[in-house]
Amino acid sequence: MKRVVITGAGTINALGKDVPTTLEAMREGRCGIGDLEFRDVERLSIRIGGQVKSYDPEAAFTRQQLALYDRFTQFTLIAARQAIAQSGIEFGDALSLSAGVILGNSGGGMTTLDENYRTVYEDGKNRVHPFVVPKLMNNAAASHVSMAWGLHGPSYTVSTACASSNHAMAQAFQMVRCGQSPVMLTGGSESMLCFGGVKAWEGLRVMSKDGCRPFSANRNGMVQGEGAGVFVFEEHEHARARGAEILAEIVGTAMTSDASDIVMPSKEGAARTIAGALRDARLNHEDVGYINAHGTGTAANDKTECAAVADVFGRHADKLMISSTKSMHGHLIGGTGAVELLACIMALRDGIIAPTINYDEPDPECALDVVPNEAREAHVEVALSNAFAFGGLNAVLALRRAE
């Protein structure tokens, strides 16, 4: 089996429009969550989110491109461009035939859907823009990345709600590991912050009106974010041969299904996934220094996740650090694992652990070191990234510090 490393990373999210800015915000424990700004927001009871602000699509793309790019596709292309630039990878003839794109996404072009439903239902028009379908389809972002860089290998979108990006990256990892392609672009994106998108979430009654406070006793729900994270996953020898900088190594993954409830998380499912990733990576429990938690800030997730970590790690659970960066960038649903992988890279490469901000009160059911409110310096050899989705679909990635 081949070794798999990350040689490029890109992002745009509420904390920043590139990786350095995002990591700086995480280091400083800055909150990217604020008042939502879009049409009809006054008709919502949930009016906060991790929205990408001061963003001008017209400065980033041409009018012709924007006719085809929903916001989630725009975010993906911006992040992919950064990741490829950092990696320095060039897709020559042979590589372009094997390299592909696997991205996570849950809602597809929600803004496009929302705008065009308004056109036909609210405005009573009988005509919509001809590109509504290619703009809103979930695979649009993966397709546009493959077209922009001429990648002809396996390319598709994985949709597993809040675990989409982790499933996508797990798949890309396995493809590189088994030798199917030396390079894969992977990650994910989401943009559901529009009236219809938030209205639907409101109905479930799991959203917070005032902030995302993972693991804190006074947490009262999740806060949604938007954006993208894209990475270049590359076979180790391939990266070394061209002298690429290695950000971190991916060493294992596990994917499972709870097969029990459509919204409630399962401790057993989460524990089985974490343990599976360790086994796949041939790691000992003591190797793990940091876990980027799923940490949604809901009552159910946070206590279930902490119990799962305690079950898997036993006494080592009290020694490792676990934080939820959703407290800062919000929950990017299908894109969340991708942005959160950046916190793992920061822990491994820079020795800085992103904090769980808005932590006010300890919760005895979340009695782990959640790195409250302030980033911490620590040497970490191995990090995990958790994602436990609605529908009971789980995916955990294990990363190791580059040598």
Binding site: S45, G203, R205, V206, R219, A299
Partner: protein, 85 residues
């Protein structure tokens, strides 16, 4: 139909029981209504009475909407109808 009777009908429908099997001192747990069933019941109550129920599944016991029994829910609905009419 009175407000308590309408609340009983909504919850009975959710619990797949006859309204006569639901009493004001039944708890949702007794009736086999889980967390999703509760969220659906609250939606049905909001639609039926044209009110907004302040309910967050993360903190079901916080706020003024008491969900401990069917009777408590009916009393909360009665109050919200009076407040929001």
């Amino acid at each position: 139909m009175s407000i308590p009777d309408r609340v009983i009908a909504i919850i009975a429908d959710q619990a797949m029981l006859e309204p006569s099997d639901v009493t004001l001192d039944s708890s949702l747990e007794d009736l086999g209504v889980d967390s999703l069933g509760l969220v659906e019941s609250i939606f049905a109550i909001e639609e039926a009475f044209d009110i907004t129920v302040p309910f967050n599944a993360n903190e079901p016991s916080v706020g003024d909407f008491d969900i401990s029994t069917v009777g408590a829910i009916a009393a909360s609905v009665q109050r919200l109808v009076a407040e929001q009419s």
